[in-house]
């Protein structure tokens, strides 16, 4: 496979401006398949915005994003939704589980959105929950789970539709060291299974898990 074909995501001079502030300033980068890419930077440096733009949840003011060679900005609203549902798995710092759904239903949700039958979605969701060590919490609601358990459910949800790209926004920021290690191990395992992970964090020491590290400073991206 050529290097070009290996590119899962390509950012080309992406700029995002909030008011008078250039949160992202002409950012270009290639993300290869099977990579564990970590972007480090202090709070407010534009890390979450970067992930939002890759996920198609935000639009850049300048520049282009390509996913598997297809320009994301050319996609209409429904295509963007399908792109997120089928190709992207999102993990957030504050877990963002839906409070009135059980852990099982939270994991089932992306599959139900994709049109999978309820019974099949349920089977797969249970399997994923077990895989991430929270199988016994399947019927619990998010408020009945600890932070670590909630994040495991969120990781399981991110993998529900077998996406090729996982975007993780400070996934361990609210966790203790033990749970942080567990989550990072999970993410490493996901990468070893052939998926791509882009993780943004302010914790420098997490860079040990990465295959490549970028630093985001004042909206500019520097490869470390």
């Amino acid at each position: 496979m050529s290097a070009i074909n290996d590119n899962l995501v390509r950012l080309n001079n992406v700029t995002k401006i909030y008011g008078f502030r250039r949160v992202l300033d002409s950012i270009s980068m290639n993300v290869h398949r099977g990579e564990f890419l970590i972007v480090v930077g202090p709070s407010g440096s534009g890390k979450t915005t970067l992930l939002g733009i890759i996920a198609g949840l935000e639009t850049p003011d300048e520049g282009e994003i390509y996913f598997e060679g297809r320009r994301v900005s050319d996609m209409n609203v429904d295509e963007l939704a399908e792109y997120r549902n089928k190709h992207i798995g999102l993990i957030f710092q504050n877990y963002n589980l839906i409070p009135h759904l059980t852990a099982l239903e939270n994991v089932m949700l992306p599959m139900i959105i994709a049109g999978l039958r309820e019974s099949k979605a349920k089977r797969k969701a249970l399997m994923l929950l077990k895989q991430f060590g929270v199988g016994d919490k399947a019927m619990s609601y998010p408020n009945e789970l600890s932070g670590g358990e909630q994040q495991r459910v969120a990781v399981a949800r991110a993998l529900a539709n077998d996406p090729s790209l996982i975007l993780a926004d400070e996934p361990t920021a609210n966790l203790d060291r033990e749970n942080e290690e567990v989550i990072m191990e999970f993410l490493s395992r996901i990468v070893s299974e052939g998926r791509t992970v882009i993780l943004v964090t302010h914790k420098e020491y997490l860079c040990d898990y990465a295959s490549r590290v970028y630093r985001l400073v004042d909206g500019r991206l520097v490869e470390v």
């Binding site: 399908e82 999102l90 959105i113």
Partner: protein, 369 residues
Amino acid sequence: MRSSWWYARRYISRRRRLVVAFLFIVVAVSVFVAFNFAFYYEVSYRNARTRELYSRLVKVFFEEYVEESNLTAVGELDGVEKYYPMIANTYMAHHGDKSGYVPVEFCDRELVVELLKQLDFSLNPEGFIYAGYLVALKLDLREGEKLSFGPFSGVVGCVLPYTGSLLDTVLFVDLSVYIDYAGSEANVSYNGLYIFLISRDYEDSVVNALYERYRVRYISSPSRVAEWVEKSNRLQLLSSMFFSSLALLMGLGIIILMIYREYEGRKRELSILFALGTKTNTVVSALLIPLYIALFSGLLVGSILTFFFVIPYYHLFVYGYYRLFGINTYVATFFSVGLTLLVMLLAIVLVINRKVKGLRPMEFLRAEL
């Protein structure tokens, strides 16, 4: 759509109180509007029948009692087919433990037959006391039961059929009952007249002649009744519309406020749905399905309550007695309330659609918030 249902089902099962609150408001609005419309349709139906009754009838009340010999001139007036003198009074009537003020008219039995004929009823009432349908309901009267009113008492010979007109509110008593009380026919004089015209064309001339010859207190004639009916209908419609609109607006206001608060409270959840790849229409549907369910089941429950309780029992509330009234009211109410709720729903759908489309998910997914 399937995913919207899946999601909405779970939402409803965990947010029952909110859905029930929606439902309750819709039911309350439906029932209140139904009550107003039931009353309006009742009044307009009664007015239409009264207008029919007075199509060629003139009813006169004199300022003072007039001897029969002074009334014979009425029969000679141009355009008068026949006339019936009567004595009209209001008495407190008693039947068992029921009692109430009732307009009583002492008259020839033939007058009752003629009046019923005007409304397409062919009936030859038995006995001496003929109770209008609503009088009978009010006093819980049946044929053969004893009734007393003022200094009189007797057995009800006939409960007149429901005519829908003002006839239903009168207690007719054969003149012979009054003559027995007065002692002799010579002692009887009259304070009113029923006049049947050959045609309505003679109305003005007869009415003018009556004013010229007698001290008239009040005359109900075809055009006057029509005018009064029109005015009464208009007022009733205005009042019903006003109170119904008020109820609908209040209901709408409360629902919109609840939806707004609901939307504001669920922005993060909707953002998560977007992040997971839910299409906008699916998000809107997931948000609206519980609302649809509450609105439609509210309308259904409201209609059932209207049909089985409001329409049959509103008389109990307004007049103090029970009566089943018409499918017209039900249909009109159902459609008025239904259409208004649908318009309301459409407005809500448009607003929610716009709001959801304008949502910026990342604002709610960021950890800082």
